[in-house]
């Protein structure tokens, strides 16, 4: 496999900010220079060489193996290249992503892809809470790009989402798409409580009836909308489960809200 490869030796003593480990920043550097990069931890710095076995060649592809969840902000603000994360990827992976591709062969912690603007993140396993949302204080969550989770997402996925695409093959926790401003969420599994809570605009496609429908959404009847067909058809490349959804005919049960926030968002529920 080409590219640079970092393999974690042992669990660091405390959480470490891994945002310096970007393919675009490391590209072209010598392995020794990379080993000397200091990553900020909880009140102390750790050199890459202490933490990781470093091998390969620094190209636009970086793979980090044996992750144990103690590295946060991996791939944050990345603009180019490919970052492959194997194991447990920690919190804030791909925060504010601006264009690169992040593949997580494992699971991700909380705030996956929060505030991302462009690019693509794909997680083979589960993601924690606040996937595709924004950090505290931000007025918007993710505002572009594609965030694909093959497993489940936790609570508050797509909170305050502004644009972009969140695709989830598994289940979602409470408050999916809460305070959503716009954008698109497609959930193949089941949403727990309060999906669409206070959403203003945006589209949430639910392939299964959610555990509970908020009383502040009004039924809009069964609708077969061209825009939704177009949308689902565009997901064909994301795997067979998405193509199946696109192929099903007859439209969706459509709910509009959240009227508690004067919202005009749409929840589209398979029937």
């Amino acid at each position: 496999m080409s590219g640079l490869r970092l393999s974690l030796r042992a669990r660091p003593p405390a959480r470490v900010d891994g945002s310096a480990l970007l393919p675009e920043k490391l590209q072209g550097q010598t392995l020794d220079a990379i080993r000397r990069i200091a990553l900020p931890g909880w009140n102390e710095f750790h050199e890459v060489g202490e933490l990781f076995e470093v091998s390969g060649e620094a190209t636009d592809r970086l793979q980090i193996d044996q992750l144990d969840g103690s590295f946060d902000r991996l791939g944050a603000l990345a603009t180019a290249g490919t970052l492959v994360l194997r194991g447990q990827a920690g919190d804030l992976v791909g925060e504010g992503l601006r264009g690169a591709s992040i593949e997580i062969e494992g699971a991700a912690g909380d705030y996956l892809g929060c505030g991302m603007r462009r690019g693509r993140i794909e997680v083979r396993g589960n993601a924690g809470h606040f996937a595709g949302s924004g950090r505290a204080g931000e007025l918007q969550g993710m505002s572009g790009g594609t965030l694909l989770v093959r497993g489940d997402v936790g609570d508050r996925a797509a909170d305050r989402m502004r644009r972009g695409l969140l695709l989830v093959e598994g289940d979602a926790g409470d408050y999916l798409a809460s305070r959503m401003l716009a954008g698109t969420v497609v959930l193949l599994g089941r949403a727990a409580g309060n999906a669409g809570y206070l959403m203003r605009r945006g589209t949430v496609v639910l392939d299964q009836r959610p555990a509970q429908m908020l009383p502040t959404f009004n039924a809009n009847g069964r609708q077969d909308l061209l825009a939704i067909q177009l949308l689902l058809r565009s997901l064909g490349g994301e795997g067979p489960r998405f193509s199946r959804l696109a192929a099903r005919a007859g439209g969706f049960e459509r709910w509009l809200g959240d009227l508690a926030a004067s919202g005009q968002g749409e929840l589209l529920v398979s029937f």
């Binding site: 698109t184 061209l226 177009l230 949308l231 565009s234």
Partner: protein, 305 residues
Amino acid sequence: MAESLTVSGVPVENTFAEAFGMRATRIVITADSLRWARAAAVAATGFATSVIACGCEAGIEQELDTSQTPDGRPGVSILIFGMSAKDLQKQVERRVGQCILTCPTTAAFGGIARDAAKEWLAMGGALRYFGDGYQISKLVGGKRYWRLPVMDGEFLCEERTATMKAIGGGNFLILARDRASAVAATERAVEAMTPLWNVILPFPGGVVRSGSKVGSRYRALIASTNDAYCPTLVGLVKTALPAGVNAVLEIVIDGLDVPSIALAMREGIRAACEGGEDAGVFGITAGNYGGKLGPHHFRLHEVLA
């Protein structure tokens, strides 16, 4: 260069069609059935024969089957030509707004490839306000669409459509024995040109009878009837009509590029000349203004080579 050229025995004058640089956009109209896509397309390209008085020149380019449209429904692609992106913006807004938005089941998509795009025109982006706040914007596959609530559901309209450099005014004239032979020849030509991409024939049925010359004895008019080709003026003016020619019809072609117009002219001329002089077609020529006004010259002999 050969001094004389005939097609099916019909002499083709060694002259050229003089054409102009324009801007064009392609819009793909889809609908639940071809019937409604066509209805919208006909309306949207109506009253668009000449840029001077109509604001644009437009026509149906092709009918599209379900594999050829962005949404998998039957459709029609239309081309709209204008003198500038600004002019086109006005026309696109009006024509999509009045003729496609209004037509049952339709949707409108931009039809120019991104890499050919010169300027962008607001399409859904301009019409969205019709939604009165209930419009929805949706980004699918990198393109932004607007969804406007209408009485049969939603009108889906791509936010923008691109313009590209284009050419207007490719043409040829059919000199015929009589009106019936001229009409028959143009019908053959139009039929042969209909399957071609990247071109439209903006005049009614693809044909124009009122060829014009620059200038007029009336000061207010910048163009007037092309008296040299009018059979009823033979004997009164310096005519361009060979003996025996009693009717002339012209086919005007707007296209997205030079090869497409040249191809259309060749196919059209060949079809028109089918049957030769026996079919009453006595000659083929082309309209120009001496070559000083338009940058594109389609020499008939080269086009047919």
